[in-house]
Symmetry: C2
Subunit: 440 residues, 2 copies
Amino acid sequence: MSQPNMVIGMHLGNGYGSQPGAWRMPWVDPRNYASFDAKVRHAQAAERGKLHFVFLPDGPGHVGDIENEAPHFNLDVMLTLAAVARGTGRIGLVATGSTTFNEPYNLARQFKALDIMSHGRAGWNAVTSSGEDVAANYGRRLPSSPERYGRAHEAIQLVQALWGSWGQDAWVHDQASGQFAKGKRIAPVNLGGKFVASRGPLYIPPSEQGQPVIFHAGGSPNALELAGRFASVVIGVAFTIDDARAQRAAFRDAAARAGRHPDEIKFVAGLMTTIAGDRRSALDRRIALTERTFPDRLAYLQQMLGVRLDPARLDQPLSPDQLAAARPSPRDPRSAHALNIAREGWSLRDILAHGVIDYHPVIVGPAVEAADHMQEWFESGAVDGFWVSPDIYDDGIDAFVDGVIPILQERGLFHEDYAGSTLRDHLGVPAQYGVDHRLR
Amino acid sequence: MSQPNMVIGMHLGNGYGSQPGAWRMPWVDPRNYASFDAKVRHAQAAERGKLHFVFLPDGPGHVGDIENEAPHFNLDVMLTLAAVARGTGRIGLVATGSTTFNEPYNLARQFKALDIMSHGRAGWNAVTSSGEDVAANYGRRLPSSPERYGRAHEAIQLVQALWGSWGQDAWVHDQASGQFAKGKRIAPVNLGGKFVASRGPLYIPPSEQGQPVIFHAGGSPNALELAGRFASVVIGVAFTIDDARAQRAAFRDAAARAGRHPDEIKFVAGLMTTIAGDRRSALDRRIALTERTFPDRLAYLQQMLGVRLDPARLDQPLSPDQLAAARPSPRDPRSAHALNIAREGWSLRDILAHGVIDYHPVIVGPAVEAADHMQEWFESGAVDGFWVSPDIYDDGIDAFVDGVIPILQERGLFHEDYAGSTLRDHLGVPAQYGVDHRLR
Ligand SMILES: Cc1cc2nc3c(=O)[nH]c(=O)nc-3n(C[C@H](O)[C@H](O)[C@H](O)COP(=O)(O)O)c2cc1C
Ligand SMILES: Cc1cc2nc3c(=O)[nH]c(=O)nc-3n(C[C@H](O)[C@H](O)[C@H](O)COP(=O)(O)O)c2cc1C
C-alpha cells in the first residue's frame, strides 16, 4: 500500500468538547447539548480535514456532576448520526451500541439503516457496557463479565447474520417483469444461542459497503478475544508508547488466533488536544477550561509524584527539594510524564494545565507538537492511528484540521483525500457480508 | 374554538405508496425503499399541504410477498423520521414503537431525542405489536394479550415518567455562574412494575412541546382501555360512518372513564386515495396499479356479494340476474359499498378498481369526491379526521395536497396554516410533562 495510512477519528460527544468547562466558554453556545445543528457542524469540520470517522461513545444514563458539567454523551447516538449522515458526504459514522441492553434485531436494523442512509459509512462500536447505573435504567443489575461477553459473542454474530440475510444480489426491483426481489435470496437466519435468538430475515438490502464496520472498545481479556474475532478497529486508551505497542500486539495476536490477518484489526489510541499558536496560549486556554478541577487534581498529583504540594502556591514550580524527592507512582501510568513536565519548571497550575491527569495523553501547544506525538507513536508501531478529543468542538476541531492535518499530510503520514466513498474504503477494511466464515 | 379542526395525517410507508404496484410505475424510482431522500421529499409534500403529521407504522419484520411486492414498512422508522425532521419544519412526526419488543428506557430516549431534534414535533404510536413473525425476530413467542397490555400500561407510564425526569426548568446552562443544571430537578424515577422497570433519570431536557404526543392504533377491548388512558390520537380503521361513530364514541368513553375530557382523544380513520381529473382516469390509474391482484380479489368479491363471477368476463358488469341475486355479506363491512358500486353498472374490473376490497375506504376519482367523503364523515361526528394513504407517494401526495386540501379549506373544514410550531399545537393536545396525574 503506497497511500499513507494513519487512521484518525474524531470524538463527538455532548456538543461542547472533551473538557468539562467547554460549555462555559463565551464563544460556545451553552445549548449545544440539545442542538443537532451543532453536531452536524462539528462533523462537517472533521470531514473538511478528511478524518476517517466520527466516534460517538454511549453509556445510556452515565452522567457525572450535572450541577456543574454537561452529560458526556449525545441525547441519542443513532439520531445524532442520522442528522450527521444527512449533513455530510464522506466521513465515517461510528456509534456505541450495547450488546447487553439492546435486542440484536433492533441493533442490526438501526445500524444497517444508518449504513443505507449514509451510503456505506456506518460503524458499530459493539461493547457490553459497564456500570450499575446503566443497568439500572433497564431495571436490572449488571450481568457478570462472562455473561456479558457470552451474550456479546452471540449478539454480534446474530447481527451480522441478519445483515447478510438479505442476499447481496437479491434486490432486483425490475419494473418490467414485476420481480421486486429474489425471494429465495432473502432468508430467515433462525439462529438461537444461550443468550439471544432471532429468526429474521432483516429486510434491508446491502449498502455501498455491504454492511457496517465493527468497532470495539475495551481492554479486559474478554474484550481482547471479542475484538480479535469481530472488530476491525479498536478504540483504545494508552498513555505510553510501550503500553500502546503491547496492546496493539495483543489485539493483533487475538485476531490471528481467530483466523484473521493481524492487519485486519487496527488499534487507535485516544489523544486530547488543546491547539494554539504557542504553548503559553494553549496553557492559558486550558486553564480557563479546567481550573475548576485543579484543587482535586492537585491532591491527586501529590499521589502521582509522592510529594506534598501546597494549593496556596499554584503559581510556583516544584522546589528543587520536591523535585529531588518526587517518584512517579507505579500505580498510575501517567506519573512519569507528569514528573517530566514538573522537571521542565512549570508552575503547579501549568503542570495541571498540561493535562497530566486526563483520560488520554494530552497535547497542549502548537499543532506541530500534536503532529510530532502522532508521528512518533505511529512510526514506532504503537498504533494504527488515533481518535482525537478536542477540548472545545466549536473551534478545537478547526484548530486540529487546519493545524495538525496539513503537517501530517506534508510528512506523508495522512491521506490527502478519502480513498473512496465508504468507511470500509477509508479504513481499508476487507469486504464482508453476513458473518465471517473464517472465524475459528 | 373557531379554527376549523379536521385533523389530517399522511401515511408514510415504504417509499412507494399504499398500492402494491406503486413501485412498478414508470415515473417511480424503484429504489425508493432504500432512499431517505425520497421519504424526505414525500414528507415535504405533505407539509406543503399543512397536514398535521406523517405516520410511519412499523411491525419489525412483517413482510408479505417480497418476490413481487415491496415490504410495507420503512427500513427503520426512527432514522427515517430523523431525516424527515432535518428536512421539514412544521409537520408532526409520528412512528410506531412497540412496547413489547423495546426497552422503555430506549423508547423514551429515542422519541424524546426526536422531539428535541424536530423542535417539538414527535409523536409515539405506542402499540403492543402482533404477529408471531415479529416476535420470532426477538427469539420469542408473542406474549398473551393480557401480558402485552399489562406491559404496555407500565411501559407508557415509565416512558412518560422518564420524559418528566429532567425537570422542566432544570436546565440553567448559565455560563457566568457555572451552573449547568439544577441537579435536584433532574431526579431518578425509580419505577418498577410487574413487567418493566427503570431508574432514570433520562438526561434530555424538555422540547418545545415538552414531550412527545402519544398515539395508539388498535381496536380490541384492551386497546380501548390503553388508548383511553394514554392516547391523544387513535389511528383507526372504519369502513362505515356508523362503525366509525361507534368506535369514536367508545374511545371517548374510555378517556372519560380514565378521568380525562373526551375531547382529549381524537379518532382519525384511514382513507386511501387515487386522485385524478375524473373518475375514469382515476380508475385506469388504479387498474395499472393493482390489476395483478384482480384474480384473487374477484374470488373474494364473489363471497362479499354471494354470486358467482366469471374471471373471463372482467370487462362486463354484473348481469341483472346477478344484481338481483347479490346479497352483501354480513361478515365483511365493505360488502354493502361493493354492491352499491356494482349497481352503478361498472365492469368487474372497474368494481375492483374502485378499491372495494382494501384496508380502508378508498376514493378513486376527482379531488372533490375525497373532500365530500371527508366532510360527510367529519360532520356526522364519525371522526376527528383522517390519516390518508395515497396510492403512490411520488405524485399521489401532491394530488391530495393540490386537489383535496384547497376544497376542505374553502369549506372551512381544514386550517389555512399550522396553529403553532409543535405537534401539540397542531392537534390542540393539552400540555403534559411527565405522567398524567389525573388518571384514574
Ligand atoms: C476507549 C474506550 C472507550 C469506551 N467506550 C465505551 C462506550 O462508548 N460505551 C460503553 O458502554 N463502554 C465503553 N467502554 C468500556 C468498555 O466497553 C468496557 O466495558 C470497559 O472497558 C470494562 O471492561 P469489561 O467490560 O471488559 O470488564 C470503553 C472503553 C474504552 C477503553
Ligand atoms: C389502523 C391500525 C394501525 C396499526 N398500526 C400498527 C403498527 O404500526 N404496528 C403494529 O405492530 N401494530 C399496529 N396495529 C395493530 C394493533 O396494534 C394491534 O396489535 C392489533 O389491532 C391487534 O389487537 P390486539 O393487540 O389488541 O389484540 C395497528 C392497528 C390498526 C387498527
